[in-house]
C-alpha cells in the first residue's frame, strides 16, 4: 500500500508568500508542491479546498503531566489533543513528578513520546527539583536533544542563580525560558489584583510581580548576553518592556497564551476555578494590548500553556484549586480570531516562530526530532497542517481529546479548525478527527 | 368601573376589576346587624367573647361587627387581629404574600372566639387561622362569621354566621367590605 499523500486544492502558506497549490508527500517528506499535481495510484487524498496548508503548529509550552499526574493527562493523550489542535510538535514542560531535571527522566518522557501521534520534545528544568537553588544537569539533558530549559510553574526567584544559569547555558547553545512572577509580591494570590479581586474578596497577584521579574531578567540578559525566552506574558507593560529590549538588540523572545488573548479577570466573577491560572487573567486593556502585539509582530509565538487537571481538583474552592487551563485544542481558533486573514502571520506565531525558539527547524542540529516550521518546499519533513479558517464549531468539554476537561471555553463558538494533520508524512488527523 | 384597591392578602401584582355591585353599603350594614344579633342569641355571656379579624380583608368587617355587638350588649367586647401568612398549608404554591400585623392580647383559653373574615371560599384560610389560634391557648368555642360565603369549599369548614350566600364560579372574584360587595375578576398588573 502506498504511503503517498496528496493535499489537494488548498492555499500553501510559505514563509513569505502564498500560492494555490497541491502538495505531494512521499516517505515522510514533501515530494512536490504545485498546481494540479498528478495523483499517484493509491495515494491518500486530503481535500484542502478553502484551507490553508502550512507547517504543523509547534507548541512551546505544554504540560503533559507524565510522570506523576497521569490522571490528568499522559504523553499520549496530550499528543492526541495537540494533533486535533493542528500541532505536529509539542515541547513538554518539566514540572512533572519527578521533575525533568536530569537525563533519566528526560529520556523517559522522550521514549514515551516516540509512541505519540505528534513529535514530543522535552524542556528540562533549570534547577534541581525546580527549587531555584542548584543548577540541573543541563549539558547532560542537552546531549539527549533538549534545547529549552525552564523551571516553569514558577520562576527562578534568586537573581544570582538566574545569572549563573544564563552564563552556564550560553556556550551550550540552548535557550532558557522564564515564568516571570516574583513569589513574594504575588503573595499567594489566586487571581489578578485589581477592582475585581477587591470586590470578590479573593487575594490578588499584582501584575507588578510579573513585570518586576521581566525587568530583572532583561538586565540579566544584558549582563550575560545569553538568549532568554519569556513565557506567557500577560500584561501590557511586560510586552512593552520585552519589545523595547528586543529593539535594543538583546536576544529575547516572548510568547503569549491563548487565554490571555481572550479572557480577562471578570471571568472569575462566578468563582469558577476553571478560570484560575498563573499568571492570572488580567484586565481588558491588557488583553487588548496582547492582541495588538500579536497582530503586529511584537510577540514571537502563541504558546498554549496547556495545563490539564483532574476534574475534582478544579471543583475545589477558588483558593484551593490548582491553577491552569487547557489550550491545545483551541489555540489556533483563538489565534485566528486575533490575527484574522493574515495567514503568513498566523503560521509565524503558531509554527515558524515557536519552531525557531524550540530549535526544531531543519537548520537546527537535533538528534531524533524531525524538522518543523518549514517553508513547505520539496525535501522538507512532511509535518503539515491543513487548517480551515472558515469552519465554525462549538466547544464541548465532554468531547475533548484531553483526559481533563478544564477548558474555559466550554459552550463557545469558535471559527477556524484543523481539518488534517500530517506528522512525518503520516496522516494523524483527517476530516477533523484523529485517524 | 374604577379599579378598587385590593383588600385581601392577594399575591403581589394582581388587581380586582369589578363587574357589578351585589350589596350596597346599607345592605352590608343591615347584614352585619342581623349577624350581631345572631351572635348574641347564641352566646349567653358577651364578656367571654373575643372578636378576631383576619388580615387583611376581615379586619374592617370585624371592627364593625365588634362595634355593633358592643352597642347591643353594652359590653366593651375584646378585639384582636390575626395574620395567617405563616400558617398556610399551601405556602410553596403561592408567591410570597405580604404579612400584616397580628395582635391578640390575652390567653384565649376558655374564651369564645368570633373569627371574622370578609369572604369564605375554599376554607384554607380558616383552617390556617384555627392552627394559629391554638398558639394562644385553647378557646372553648370558635365561631366563624363571614360577610360572604361564595361556596367551593375544599375542607370541612362551615360558617356559623353568614351575611350573604353568593354562589360564584372559580374564575370570578368577590370583593367585600363595609362599603359594599362587588363581583368581578382578578387581573395581573
Amino acid at each position: 500500500m502506498s504511503s503517498d499523500v496528496v493535499i489537494s486544492g488548498g492555499t500553501v502558506i510559505h514563509a513569505r508568500s502564498t500560492e494555490r497549490a497541491d502538495v505531494l508527500v512521499r516517505d515522510g517528506r514533501v515530494l512536490a508542491v504545485g498546481a494540479d499535481l498528478d495523483r499517484p495510484a493509491g495515494a491518500t487524498v486530503i481535500d484542502a479546498e478553502g484551507c490553508w496548508v502550512g507547517p504543523g503548529f509547534v507548541d512551546l509550552h505544554t504540560h503533559l503531566r507524565e510522570p506523576g499526574r497521569e490522571e490528568a493527562e499522559t504523553v499520549l493523550s496530550g499528543a492526541r489533543a495537540a494533533a486535533v489542535g493542528g500541532y505536529s510538535a509539542v515541547v513538554a514542560m518539566p514540572n512533572t513528578e519527578p521533575a525533568i531535571d536530569n537525563a533519566m527522566v528526560a529520556q523517559f518522557v522522550l521514549d514515551r513520546g516516540r509512541e505519540a501521534v505528534v513529535d514530543v520534545a522535552v524542556a528540562g528544568a533549570i534547577t534541581i527539583g525546580r527549587q531555584g537553588e542548584h543548577l540541573a544537569e543541563i549539558a547532560e539533558m542537552a546531549a539527549l536533544g533538549v534545547r529549552l530549559f525552564t523551571d516553569d510553574g514558577t520562576g527562578v526567584q534568586n537573581p544570582l542563580v538566574m545569572r549563573r544559569a544564563l552564563t552556564y547555558a550560553r556556550p551550550l547553545g540552548v535557550r532558557l525560558a522564564q515564568h516571570c512572577e516574583d513569589e513574594a509580591l504575588a503573595a499567594g494570590g489566586v487571581m489578578n489584583e485589581g477592582e475585581v479581586s477587591s470586590c470578590l474578596g479573593l487575594a490578588g497577584r499584582t501584575s507588578v510581580a510579573e513585570e518586576l521579574m521581566v525587568q530583572r531578567d532583561i538586565e540579566l540578559v544584558r549582563l550575560t548576553g545569553c538568549p532568554l525566552h519569556f513565557l506567557h506574558l500577560s500584561t501590557a507593560r511586560s510586552i512593552a518592556m520585552v519589545t523595547a529590549a528586543r529593539r535594543e538588540g538583546l536576544p529575547v523572545t516572548c510568547e503569549v497564551a491563548p487565554h490571555h488573548l481572550l479572557l480577562d479577570d471578570t471571568a472569575c466573577a462566578d468563582f469558577d476555578a476553571v478560570f484560575k491560572v498563573h499568571p492570572p487573567l488580567r484586565t481588558a486593556s491588557d488583553v487588548s494590548a496582547a492582541r495588538d502585539a500579536l497582530r503586529d509582530g511584537r510577540i514571537d509565538a502563541v504558546a498554549t500553556d496547556h495545563a490539564p487537571h483532574a476534574p475534582e481538583l478544579k471543583e475545589m474552592s477558588f483558593d484551593d484549586a490548582p491553577a491552569g487551563m487547557l489550550g491545545l485544542e483551541h489555540a489556533a481558533s483563538i489565534t485566528l480570531d486575533v490575527i484574522g486573514d493574515d495567514a503568513l502571520r498566523f503560521f509565524d506565531v503558531l509554527s515558524r516562530g515557536p519552531a525557531a525558539i524550540a530549535q526544531l527547524r531543519s537548520s537546527d542540529e537535533r538528534p531524533r526530532h524531525s524538522a518543523h516550521g518549514g517553508d513547505v518546499r520539496e525535501g522538507d519533513d512532511a509535518n503539515l497542517v491543513v487548517f480551515d479558517p472558515r469552519q465554525r464549531y462549538t466547544v464541548d468539554r465532554e468531547k475533548l481529546q484531553s483526559r481533563a476537561v478544564n477548558t474555559p471555553y466550554d459552550g463557545r463558538v469558535f471559527v477556524g479548525r484543523t481539518r488534517a494533520l500530517l506528522v512525518r508524512g503520516n496522516v494523524r488527523v483527517n476530516e477533523g478527527s484523529l485517524s | 368601573m374604577a379599579e378598587r384597591e385590593r383588600r385581601h392578602a392577594r399575591p403581589r401584582g394582581v388587581i380586582f376589576v369589578p363587574r357589578s355591585q351585589l350589596l350596597t353599603e346599607d345592605e352590608v350594614e343591615r347584614a352585619l346587624r342581623r349577624m350581631a344579633h345572631e351572635v348574641v342569641e347564641r352566646n349567653d355571656d358577651p364578656r367571654t367573647l373575643v372578636v378576631i379579624g383576619l388580615q387583611t380583608g376581615g379586619v374592617p368587617i370585624a371592627e364593625r361587627l365588634r362595634d355593633i355587638l358592643a352597642d347591643i350588649t353594652g359590653v366593651d367586647i375584646e378585639f384582636g387581629l390575626l395574620d395567617v401568612a405563616f400558617y398556610r398549608d399551601d405556602v410553596s404554591l403561592h408567591p410570597v404574600l405580604e404579612s400584616a400585623e397580628t395582635s391578640i392580647s390575652s390567653d384565649l383559653t376558655d374564651r369564645t372566639v368570633i373569627l371574622v373574615d370578609d369572604v369564605l371560599y375554599t376554607g384554607r384560610t380558616i383552617r390556617a387561622a384555627l392552627n394559629a389560634l391554638s398558639d394562644w391557648g385553647r378557646p372553648r368555642f370558635v365561631q366563624l362569621a363571614v360577610l360572604v360565603d361564595r361556596g367551593h369549599r375544599e375542607l370541612p369548614i362551615r360558617p356559623d354566621f353568614v351575611g350573604k350566600n353568593l354562589p360564584t364560579s372559580h374564575d370570578e372574584a368577590i370583593d367585600a367590605g363595609v362599603d359594599g360587595v362587588w363581583i368581578g375578576t382578578l387581573v395581573a398588573k
Binding site: E193, C199, G201, E315 | D89
Partner: protein, 338 residues
C-alpha cells in the same frame, strides 16, 4: 467594571439563593426587612414557632467555626418548623482538599431543601450552588467575600432604632430613613466580608458611606466601591450618623499588615475618648465577636447607642425572613436565555 460585574439585579429573593447582596435591589432588601419585622413579632410570642417550613430540611454546613451564627440560623429554621441537619464540618473528618462537590453530595443524598453554609474560601457557596441547583443556598459568610445576613440585620437594626426615634415602625418607613444617612465603616475592610455586605446594603437603601482604615487594611482597589475613602478618622466620626466598627481579622493575617494592635487602636480604634466626642445621637454597630480594647473600648461597647445586643437579637428574625422567602417563595419563570 462596575460593582455588579454583569449580574442581573433581582427584585425579590423569593425562591432564590442568597449568596451575595451584589445583585439584590432596594425592593428586595425592603421585602426582607419587612418580613423580618413580622417574624420579630412571632419571636415575641409565648409560642415562638410557625408551621411555615414544616417538612422542609435545612442543612447547616459550617466549615468555619461560628457557634453564634450557626445557632442563630438553626434557631431561625426551627422556629419555622423546618428540620435541621447540623454539620460542624470544621471538626469533622472532611479532609483538606476534598472537593466541595463531594462534601455536598453526601448531604444532598439525604434530601435537603436548603443549605446554610459558611466557608473560609470566597466563592464556595457560589460553587456549591452550581453543583446542587435545586437546593437553596444561603451564604453564612464566605472567606472575605460576603456575609449577606449580617449586612441585612445591620440595616434592619438601624431602621428599627431610627423608626422608633421618629415614632413610626420600620415597615411604615420603608427605606426613607436611609436617604442621605451618613454611615462610616472603620477597621479591617480589606479582609471583611461584613464590610462588603454592609456597603452594599447601606448604599442600595440610599445611605452615603465613607470608609476609614490604615492604608494596609483598605481594600486593594477601592475605586469602584460606592464609598468615599477618608483619612482623618476623628473628622469622619464627627460627620457620621452611624459608625460601623469592624473586627480586626487577626486570623486572616491582619497581624503582619499593621505594626501592632496598640498602634491600630491609637489610630483607628473607637476609644472612650473618641466615643465621648461623638454626637449623642450617633449609633454604633459591630458584627461581633468584639476584640474589646482593640477596635472598640469595653465601655463604649456598653453604651446605649452601641447596638450590638440588638444586632444579635435581630439575627433570628432576619434569618427567618431569609429562609422563609428563599424556601417558601417561588422565583419568577426563568427566561430561556438564562
Amino acid at each position: 467594571m462596575d460593582w455588579n460585574v454583569g449580574g442581573e439585579v433581582i427584585d425579590s429573593i423569593a425562591g432564590r439563593n442568597l449568596i451575595t447582596l451584589r445583585d439584590v435591589s432596594q425592593q428586595a432588601i425592603v421585602e426582607i426587612l419587612d418580613t423580618a419585622e413580622a417574624f420579630a413579632e412571632v419571636n415575641a410570642r409565648a409560642i415562638k414557632k410557625v408551621p411555615t417550613l414544616k417538612g422542609r430540611v435545612v442543612a447547616s454546613l459550617f466549615f468555619e467555626e461560628s457557634t453564634r451564627t450557626r445557632l442563630s440560623f438553626e434557631t431561625a429554621a426551627k422556629r419555622l418548623s423546618a428540620d435541621v441537619l447540623s454539620l460542624a464540618v470544621a471538626s469533622s473528618s472532611v479532609k483538606k482538599g476534598e472537593s466541595l462537590r463531594d462534601t455536598i453530595a453526601t448531604i444532598e443524598a439525604l434530601g435537603i431543601d436548603a443549605v446554610v453554609m459558611r466557608h473560609s474560601a470566597s466563592g464556595a457557596p457560589e460553587q456549591v450552588s452550581r453543583f446542587v441547583p435545586h437546593v437553596r443556598v444561603i451564604n453564612a459568610g464566605d472567606g472575605q467575600h460576603q456575609h449577606p445576613t449580617q449586612g441585612l440585620l445591620d440595616v434592619f437594626t438601624i431602621r428599627q432604632v431610627l423608626a422608633a426615634r421618629h415614632g413610626t415602625t420600620g415597615r411604615e418607613s420603608g427605606c426613607e430613613l436611609f436617604a442621605g444617612l451618613k454611615v462610616l465603616i472603620v477597621g479591617d475592610l480589606r479582609h471583611s466580608r461584613v464590610a462588603r455586605s454592609d456597603v452594599m446594603a447601606y448604599t442600595t437603601l440610599g445611605a452615603t458611606v465613607r470608609v476609614c482604615a490604615p492604608g494596609t487594611l483598605l481594600p486593594v482597589d477601592v475605586s469602584q466601591w460606592p464609598v468615599e475613602v477618608v483619612e482623618n478618622f476623628d473628622d469622619a466620626l464627627g460627620w457620621a450618623d452611624v459608625v460601623g466598627v469592624l473586627r480586626l481579622q487577626k486570623e486572616r493575617g491582619t497581624g503582619s499588615l499593621v505594626p501592632s494592635l496598640g498602634e491600630f487602636t491609637r489610630t483607628h480604634g473607637l476609644t472612650w475618648e473618641r466615643a465621648r466626642r461623638l454626637s449623642p445621637s450617633t449609633l454604633i454597630t459591630h458584627p461581633g465577636p468584639m476584640n474589646r480594647g482593640v477596635e472598640i473600648d469595653s465601655r463604649v461597647a456598653d453604651l446605649d447607642v452601641a447596638l450590638m445586643e440588638r444586632q444579635v437579637a435581630n439575627g433570628v428574625p432576619i434569618r427567618m425572613s431569609v429562609l422563609y422567602l428563599s424556601l417558601a417563595g417561588r422565583a419568577p419563570e426563568r427566561s430561556t436565555d438564562e
